[in-house]
């Protein structure tokens, strides 16, 4: 499939190849190389200079797309809506314009019904310089997302960027029909520094990177059931998993909510007293839990599929 796509790609867009790292790529590079070559059409691109109206109050630099790219394109020939956060601008944080673009896209998807939405998360959460607007944007996105899912839209989240998926971004991710995550894709509400600042270093040592990865990182989220799929850190593997999840993602309704209530309830019953991710992995039946952090992606995927079948009906 990739060979076919590469042949038809026009030159300016092929500079970034399929084996390139998702983590290292910019939001624009991710969008262009995830979608079929030349198919991306942006809504309100940077040429329109719709910047944040609030950053100037803090004398901070603006970005012409406010760190959020939205538009449409084709994925393996099929139409798709896409939204991508640029983690290198203000940590991918949600501000007024940044958030409103995604809200508008989801409202349109609800109307169209038949076109799936891909959300390429890369965010530290709410942008504090416009905290009230950012917080509310997250609430509006969640409502628009659920309304779109009720109309039959598949919304697939892809997480593997520099900023991870923190704060309200984690809540939006929890609303998606399905999630794919790479090792680098941390998902959490409170970030490591926030927990340490509020509760002390005894509660969470944010400088202990191994602790951060195994508590919030992609491998733990996959083993816990917080993400449906684990993927290696290449554009190609994110494209493959996105296609798979669009096909397998569940609808939305009372049955899904009841199944999720049961799924989360069972998690608390089984792992409530686990002090560390290692204890959860052992309880899950991972044969060599200590080896998980250093395990290559392919080996980890095999282990994960053995101990925990993805549940596509409970999210």
């Amino acid at each position: 499939m990739s060979a076919l796509l590469t042949e038809t790609e026009d030159k300016p867009q092929t500079a970034w190849d399929d084996a390139a790292s998702w983590y290292e790529a910019s939001a624009r590079q991710r969008v262009r190389s995830l979608l079929d070559a030349g198919s991306f059409k942006e809504f309100i691109g940077p040429e329109q200079r719709e910047v944040s109206p609030h950053l100037r109050v803090f004398e901070l630099p603006e970005q012409f797309d406010d760190g959020m790219i939205v538009g449409r394109g084709r994925l393996s020939g099929e139409p798709a809506f896409i939204a991508a956060q640029e983690g290198r601008f203000m940590g991918g944080a949600f501000g007024e314009v940044h958030g409103a673009k995604l809200t508008g896209l989801l409202r349109a998807a609800r109307y169209v019904k038949s076109i799936p939405v891909l959300i390429l998360f890369d965010t530290g959460g709410v942008r504090l310089q416009e905290a009230n607007a950012g917080e509310l944007a997250i609430a509006e996105i969640m409502r628009a997302l659920i309304e779109a899912r009720m109309a039959g839209v598949k919304v697939v989240g892809l997480i593997g960027g520099r900023a991870g998926c923190y704060g309200g971004g984690g809540l939006i991710a929890g609303c998606c029909s399905a999630l794919a995550v790479s090792e680098q894709g941390r998902i959490s509400v409170s970030g490591p520094e926030v927990i340490e600042t509020n509760r002390g270093v005894e509660e969470f040592d944010s400088k202990d990177r191994a602790l951060v990865w195994r508590t919030m990182g992609g491998k733990h989220r996959r083993l816990l059931g917080g993400a449906d799929a684990f993927t290696s850190d290449t554009i190609q593997s994110f494209r493959d998993i996105a296609l798979h999840l669009i096909r397998s993602a569940p609808g939305f309704g009372m049955d899904v909510l009841k199944a999720e209530q049961a799924r989360l309830g069972e998690r608390l019953e089984r792992f409530s007293s686990c002090a560390d991710a290692l204890d959860i992995w052992k309880a899950e039946g991972v044969p060599d839990a200590e080896a998980v952090p250093a395990m290559p992606a392919e080996d980890f995927i095999a282990v994960a599929n053995k101990v925990r079948e993805p549940r596509y009906d409970a999210r």
Binding site: F43, I44, P53, H54, V57, V70, E96, V97, G99, A100, K101, T103, G104, L105, A109, Y111, V112, V126, Q129, E130, A131, N132, A133, E135, L136, I138, A139, E140, M142, R143, A144, I146, E147, G168, L171, G174, C175, S188, V189, S190, N198, T215, M216, H220, R221, L224, G225, G226, M254, L257, E260, Q261, L264, G265, R267, L268, S272, C274, A275, I280
Partner: protein, 241 residues
């Protein structure tokens, strides 16, 4: 107003709402007939995985019992519970699930009404009050995304400078008035008038189609661009390829 005063003013004929270690669960008869289901967070309790799943369970149970009464969400909370255990167990999923249950309930015709009567912050705010269709507040409510000292730490600006900047824009500083201007809070109730009457008036209003908070934020001047940006993207997305 204390929680007991609020519940007494909302439910003149009494109610069966209990405060279980900071979680409110129960129901009460409405003045205009029918019953309201009530969930909530009291006593400035932080919302962790164990709390969120009890609240979502109550919403789902109410839906299973049927009926068309509103669901009231009373909020005087801390932020999300900040701990290793909560994040280890996937707090983002639990909070998202609670919000999903509330949004779904509203779409099934169970008008969700948030009543912010104390504090709330960050993820707890999003999963409870901000997940309702209609959010009202009592005077003295203290919503915040992040407190000014923490904000000062992140933005590397002094609290004095932040307070000065807050005079020119409602977009970042904590507080009910600021949140209301962005469109998050529809109205602040009058605590001298029966809350039951004010609730009844609100429920009697025609349900406007769709999420109106961005338009409200534009009209109030707190969010100048959100409504227009969302609408422009919507229009562009509906154009043929």
């Amino acid at each position: 107003m204390t929680l007991d005063d609020i519940l007494a003013s909302l439910f003149l004929e009494g109610h069966d709402i209990r405060n279980n270690d900071g979680l409110l669960l129960g129901s009460g008869p409405l003045k205009g007939g029918g019953r309201a289901e009530v969930i909530g967070v009291a006593d400035r309790t932080a919302v962790g995985v164990d709390d969120a799943i009890r609240l979502s369970g109550q919403v789902l149970a109410a839906l299973e019992r049927g009926g068309d009464g509103p669901i009231l969400v009373l909020v005087d909370s801390d932020s999300q519970r900040m701990s290793k255990r909560d994040e280890l167990l996937g707090l983002n999923e639990f909070l998202a699930h609670l919000a999903k249950c509330l949004i779904y309930a509203d779409m099934q015709g169970r008008h969700t009404v948030g009543l912010l009567y104390g504090h709330t912050a960050a993820g707890a705010f999003i999963a409870t009050a901000l997940a309702t269709r209609t959010l009202v507040a009592l005077p003295g409510a203290e919503p915040e995304v992040m407190d000014l000292p923490s904000m000062s730490k992140v933005t590397k600006l002094s609290i004095e400078v932040l307070k000065e900047k807050a005079k020119s824009t409602p977009v970042f500083a904590p507080g009910l008035d600021n949140l209301a201007q962005t469109g998050a809070v529809l109205a602040t109730w009058d605590e001298k008038i029966s809350l039951a009457d004010q609730l009844q008036a609100l429920l009697g209003n025609d349900r406007q189609g769709g999420d109106q908070r961005d338009r409200l934020g534009k009209a109030r001047g707190g969010r100048p661009k959100a409504a227009d940006m969302a609408e422009r993207v919507y229009d562009l997305a509906l154009q043929p390829e």
